[in-house]
């Protein structure tokens, strides 16, 4: 499996003076995979990407990108990867085509290949109607497409995207992911950092970084069935109720409830098998839930636990990636505190 890896890191770490930005990162990404790097702001995602791109030297360990050691041959990496930063670093006072031409020249493409590639990336992101427009006059979504076009001009084998969808409208976000899937299908490896959980669900492999540590790594379905996330003897349920916030407070007082999180009007509860979900719903009700004024007006609930005073229904659920990361983060902060 590792022979196929286009990115491989071993105990990779980086310090900025006293501050440890990344610690002991060991991971591998295989060709044509979509690797999602998750984590809160300031957790070290950008630092990792910048090291893999060969613009930041590691303090510890090393990594190989397309077989090149990032410490010794960063220049060999640069011609074979593409990089799109958070800010879509474009020249705002240049037109779309001028931006694309600049990168074609900067990557040293031969004159004959340049024209062909320029057209190819314009077609790829579909920006043909705007080639003469100044980059500053493009909307966020189109800027992002232009940045992608520039990053793809030299047909890179790996594309690093640092929070490519931050601040972009949902349609543009969906469109970008369609493009990324299309590229992955053509054999381009994607290394995407994000903090959108729905984006993480689309990745073939995800890693979760928390204050410099890689605390989870694997395919989404693997992570969801991790024993630390749903320990043996517990199950996860989604319970919907109309006064979810106060139900959450009550649920946390029940010893069999190992974890409770609010998702809109639903509670996601990790419950020990010792208590049945029906009992849980009863318990949530029996704590003197006063009927909310709007309760009578809402549609009648179908679950066993429906009453006139409070509506609650439950179903067993798989943990989402968010559940996974929340559980792992909490476990970690508990072990740090201990």
């Amino acid at each position: 499996m590792n022979e196929d890896a286009v990115i491989r890191t071993e105990h990779l770490g980086r310090r900025f003076g006293e501050v440890v930005a990344l610690r002991d990162i060991t991971l591998s990404v295989s060709r044509a995979a979509i690797f999602g790097l998750l984590g809160p702001n300031g957790s070290g995602k950008s630092t990792l990407i910048r090291m893999l791109c060969g613009v930041l030297a590691p303090s510890n360990g090393t990594a190989w990108v397309l077989g090149n050691d990032i410490r010794t041959s960063p220049e060999a990496i640069k011609t074979r990867i593409g990089y799109m930063s958070q800010k879509f670093s474009l020249y705002n006072d240049l037109s779309v085509i001028e931006n694309i031409r600049f990168y074609a020249l900067a990557y040293g493409l031969a004159p004959s290949r340049r024209r062909e590639r320029e057209q190819a990336v314009i077609d790829l992101v579909g920006i043909g109607d705007y080639v003469k427009r100044l980059a500053s006059h493009l909307s966020g979504g189109w800027k992002q497409r232009l940045a992608l076009a520039c990053a793809m001009i030299h047909e890179p084998e790996i594309l690093f995207l640092d929070e490519p969808t931050a601040g972009i409208d949902p349609v543009a976000r969906r469109d970008l992911w369609d493009l990324l899937f299309q590229l992955a299908h053509q054999g381009v490896t994607m290394f995407v950092s994000t903090h959108y959980m729905d984006e993480a669900e689309r990745c073939t492999k995800v890693g979760y970084v928390l204050s410099g540590d890689l605390i989870a790594l694997g395919e989404p379905h693997e992570l969801k069935s991790l024993p630390q996330v749903t320990p043996p003897g517990t199950r996860r349920y989604a319970v919907s109720c109309d006064d979810a916030p106060s139900a959450l407070a009550r649920a946390r007082n029940i010893p069999e409830v190992r974890d409770a999180t609010l998702f809109g009007t639903e509670l996601h509860i990790q419950l020990a098998d010792a208590m049945s979900p029906q009992t849980l719903v009863q318990r949530l009700k029996s704590h003197g839930l006063s009927p909310s004024p709007r309760a009578g007006a809402s549609a009648p609930a179908v679950g066993e636990a429906a009453t006139r005073e409070s509506h609650a229904e439950f179903r067993e659920v798989q943990p989402s990636l968010e559940d996974v990361f929340v559980t792992l983060s909490r476990a970690r902060s508990r072990s740090n505190a201990a």
């Binding site: 990089y83 958070q86 474009l90 001028e98 600049f102």
Partner: protein, 381 residues
């Protein structure tokens, strides 16, 4: 050197898109040149003067006319009482007061010494000095004329010239070299060329790099195979060419509009200009590694520009500066270049005459380039 052409061509695309760069580079220098060339005139004349003439006869009128004729003084008020006389000075309406006592004419006729009181407002030291010198000269001339007519009436003379006329015993014959009409434009305009060249070059290069850092495109460039050399030269050379074009325009304006001729070798001047351009490019590069935002870039540039204007000898003669201040000026490359430009343009100085300045400028160049290259390399590594 990889990526040089990509960056080089891109910089020209930026310049083409940005009219303020072009305006700043080519028009502002000409405007500055006009201001300094025409508006700054250090010869002092038409000093407002108040006269209190208590004599009021032929001799006192002759004195007042002679004062007016120097054009240094403008009689704006004639008063007859002490109160108005002092008011005119303290209110600032007049800078010079002339008090001719009542018996002025009588004393002269009796061949007694006739005092004239001159009050000068010393707050503007240059005007005061000019007023004092002119009055002294005027009194000497008038006294000389009186002595001459007296001497001739007695057929006596302390000295005679070739024609046998009465003359001063010592004949001083000053000859002004290089700037015979003492026009201040001749002194200021060549120095201004150096100052403007530095201003334009420093701002253009510092901004072009800091802007990329601020927009994040510099980081994007580091991910491309563009090399350090290609990046640096690609960014600097376009602005060096622009600055050189600007230099030619300013030189043309100097000779054609201000009629300041270039006495020395144009080739020497342009050659040494390139030494200065390279030095300032290095300085711009250095500032761009220090400033993180465009605002900081402005502040750093002013930190260089202000001493350049005041300490380089462009405005004030360096010979009169205290040694500490003068040594500070020695650290500025523009100090040497002002000297070079004035030397070549005004005095027809050749390479031998300019050796100290050329050595100084070369030393600045070496130090600045080394520092900026080290910092620039370290920063993008």
């Amino acid at each position: 050197m990889r990526g040089f052409w990509a960056i080089f061509l891109k910089e020209f695309a930026h310049i083409r898109r940005d009219p303020t760069t072009i305006f700043f580079t080519f028009l502002v220098p000409v405007i500055q040149l006009t201001i300094f060339g025409f508006a700054i005139d250090v010869t002092i004349d038409h000093i407002p003067t108040v006269v209190m003439d208590l004599d009021g006869r032929q001799e006192s009128r002759r004195l007042i006319d002679a004062m007016q004729n120097t054009r240094t003084f403008d009689v704006i008020e004639r008063v007859t009482d002490d109160e108005s006389y002092h008011r005119a000075i303290t209110s600032g309406r007049a800078r010079v007061g002339v008090l001719i006592p009542a018996k002025y004419s009588d004393r002269l006729l009796l061949r007694e010494q006739a005092p004239v009181q001159i009050v000068i407002d010393g707050s503007d030291s240059q005007a005061a000095t000019a007023a004092m010198n002119t009055m002294g000269l005027l009194a000497t001339e008038l006294s000389k004329a009186r002595a001459k007519s007296f001497g001739e009436s007695l057929q006596l003379a302390v000295a005679r010239n070739e024609q046998g006329h009465f003359a001063m015993p010592i004949d001083v014959r000053p000859r002004l070299l290089f700037n015979p009409n003492l026009e201040s434009a001749h002194f200021f305009v060549p120095g201004l060329i150096a100052i403007i060249l530095q201003l334009v070059l420093l701002f253009l290069t510092t901004f072009s790099i800091v802007r990329e850092r601020e927009m994040g495109t510099l980081e994007q460039l580091f991910v491309t195979p563009v090399g350090r050399g290609g990046l640096m030269l690609g960014k600097l050379i376009p602005y060096a060419l622009m600055a050189f074009g600007e230099l030619l325009i300013v030189l043309l304006a100097m000779t054609e509009v201000f009629h300041v001729p270039i006495h020395g070798s144009l080739t020497l001047l342009l050659g040494l200009s390139w030494l200065f351009i390279v030095t300032v490019l290095g300085l711009g590069l250095l500032l761009s590694t220090l400033a993180r935002t465009q605002l900081e870039a402005i502040q750093f540039s002013f930190l260089v520009m202000l001493p350049s204007v005041f300490l380089s000898g462009f405005m004030f003669p360096r010979a009169q500066m205290p040694i500490v201040i003068r040594s500070l000026g020695n650290l500025l490359p523009v100090t040497y270049f002002v000297e070079i430009v004035r030397g070549v343009i005004l005095r027809d100085a050749d390479i031998l005459d300019l050796t100290p300045s050329i050595l100084g400028l070369s030393a600045c160049c070496a130090v600045i380039l080394t520092l900026s290259l080290l910092r620039f390399r370290k920063q993008i590594a």
